[in-house]
C-alpha cells in the first residue's frame, strides 16, 4: 500500500485507486516513460531508483531530477499538450505504482487533502526547479549535485560516507549541465580539498557542511 495515498485519501478512495492502478516492474537501465509520449497517468516509485532526463533535442540531454522510494514520477507531463517533456529511466531494478490519469483526477477532485498535498508537491518542485536555475560557477553546481545525490540516495548501509548509489561521471556531468571532463576535474579538486573522497567509481561525502556552503554559492 502506498503511504501518500493512505495518508491523504479516504479508505474507500484508496481501495478505488489501487483497484484501477497497476504495479509495473522496470529493470535497471530501462525506460519508465519517454519524452513525447502521451501522459497516461502518474507513477509512484515503490522500490528502486530512477533518473529523470530532459531531452532538449538540441544539445545534450540533462538529468533534471533523481528519484528514490515513494517519489512521484511523470507529473511534468501534466498540463499543456499532455505529453511527457522528460524521460524517466530506472537506475536500479524498480517497481512502480501507475495511476491512470482519470483515476488520479477523480481522486484529486474528491479528496481535498490529497489535492492540497499534490499542490504543495508541485509548489516544491517549482521552487527546486527555480533554485537550480541560479547561475553559479560549475564547482558550486557540482557541490549542489553531489548534495542532491546524497539527499535522494543516502549513504550505504554499512558506511557513513559512501553514497548508496553512484551515478556514472557522465550522468553526474549531465545533472550538473556540464561536460564530462569538467566534472572529472572538479571532482578531483573536491577530492584534494577533502570534501569528498573518490574510491574508484564510488564517491564518499566527507564534509557535508562545506558541500552545503559551496552549493549555496560560498
Amino acid at each position: 500500500m502506498n503511504s501518500v495515498l493512505q495518508k491523504f485519501c479516504s479508505e474507500h478512495w484508496c481501495e478505488f485507486i489501487l483497484f484501477h492502478s497497476k504495479t509495473i516492474s522496470v529493470s535497471a537501465g530501462n525506460s519508465i516513460f519517454s519524452a513525447g509520449e502521451d501522459t497516461l497517468g502518474i507513477h509512484i516509485l515503490n522500490k528502486g531508483k530512477a533518473k529523470v532526463v530532459a531531452c532538449t533535442g538540441i544539445g545534450t540531454d540533462r538529468i533534471i531530477r533523481l528519484a528514490a522510494e515513494d517519489d512521484i514520477l511523470g507529473h511534468r507531463g501534466f498540463g499543456g499538450p499532455w505529453k511527457y517533456t522528460v524521460s524517466a529511466i530506472a537506475l536500479e531494478d524498480s517497481e512502480l505504482l501507475f495511476i491512470p490519469i482519470d483515476i488520479f483526477n477523480a481522486a484529486f477532485k474528491s479528496n481535498p487533502d490529497f489535492a492540497y498535498y499534490m499542490l504543495m508537491f508541485f509548489a516544491e518542485e517549482l521552487r527546486e526547479s527555480e533554485r537550480l536555475a541560479t547561475q553559479l560557477p560549475i564547482k558550486n553546481v557540482i557541490a549542489s549535485v553531489l548534495y542532491n545525490n546524497l539527499q535522494v540516495f543516502g549513504f550505504e548501509k554499512d558506511s557513513s560516507t559512501k553514497l548508496s548509489h553512484t551515478l556514472s561521471r557522465k550522468d553526474l556531468a549531465s545533472q550538473a549541465g556540464t561536460r564530462y571532463e569538467t566534472l572529472v576535474r572538479t571532482l578531483a579538486e573536491l577530492n584534494n580539498e577533502n570534501i569528498i573522497k573518490l574510491e574508484g567509481k564510488a564517491i564518499h561525502i566527507l564534509d557535508i557542511e562545506k558541500l552545503v556552503l559551496l552549493k549555496e554559492g560560498n
Copy 2:
C-alpha cells in the same frame, strides 16, 4: 470581478473570497512583495505589469517571469517555509487582488475545479521553468526572452511590431541571465539580421518566425 475565480468557483464562494480579499495599488517601480517575507496570500494582477525577480543573494538578481493582466503572483512562496523566494516589482502602476492564504486554502479545498485549475497552473509553471533551464547559446536565450516579452506584453495598440512595454536593457539582460554588454551586442546582431528593430530604447519585433526558431535552438 476576477475571471479565474468566476470561472472555477461557485457564486457563493466568489462572494466569500472577494469579501475577504483586498484590492491593492502599487505604483511603477514599487515592490508588490519581497523575497524573504512571509507568504501571506496570493496576488492576481487586475491591471498593470510586473516583473518577478529571484534575488539569489550570490551573484546578480535574475528576472524569472513577467506578468500582465490576470496573471497570478506569489505562488512561488507556497510550500516549504512559506516565505517568498522571489520579489515582485510593478513595471507600471498596477492594481492587484490579494487573497489571504487561509481564504485561498478554503476555496481550494471546497472548489474542486478551482483546485484543478491551480494544479494545472503550477504544472505549466513547472514546465516553463524547466524549459528555461535548457542550456542554449546566449543569442537563443535572448530570442526566447524577446518572445516572452511579446507574449506577455504584446504590441502597442497602434503598432504591429513595437512591444507595448520595453524593459530596460539591464532588465532584459537580467531576464536572459547574462550581462548588460552581452545583451546589447546581441540585440545589435538581431537588429542587423532584421529580426528585430531597435528604435532608441523601444524594440520592434520584425520576424516572429525567426525568433521562434532561435528560441528553439535553431
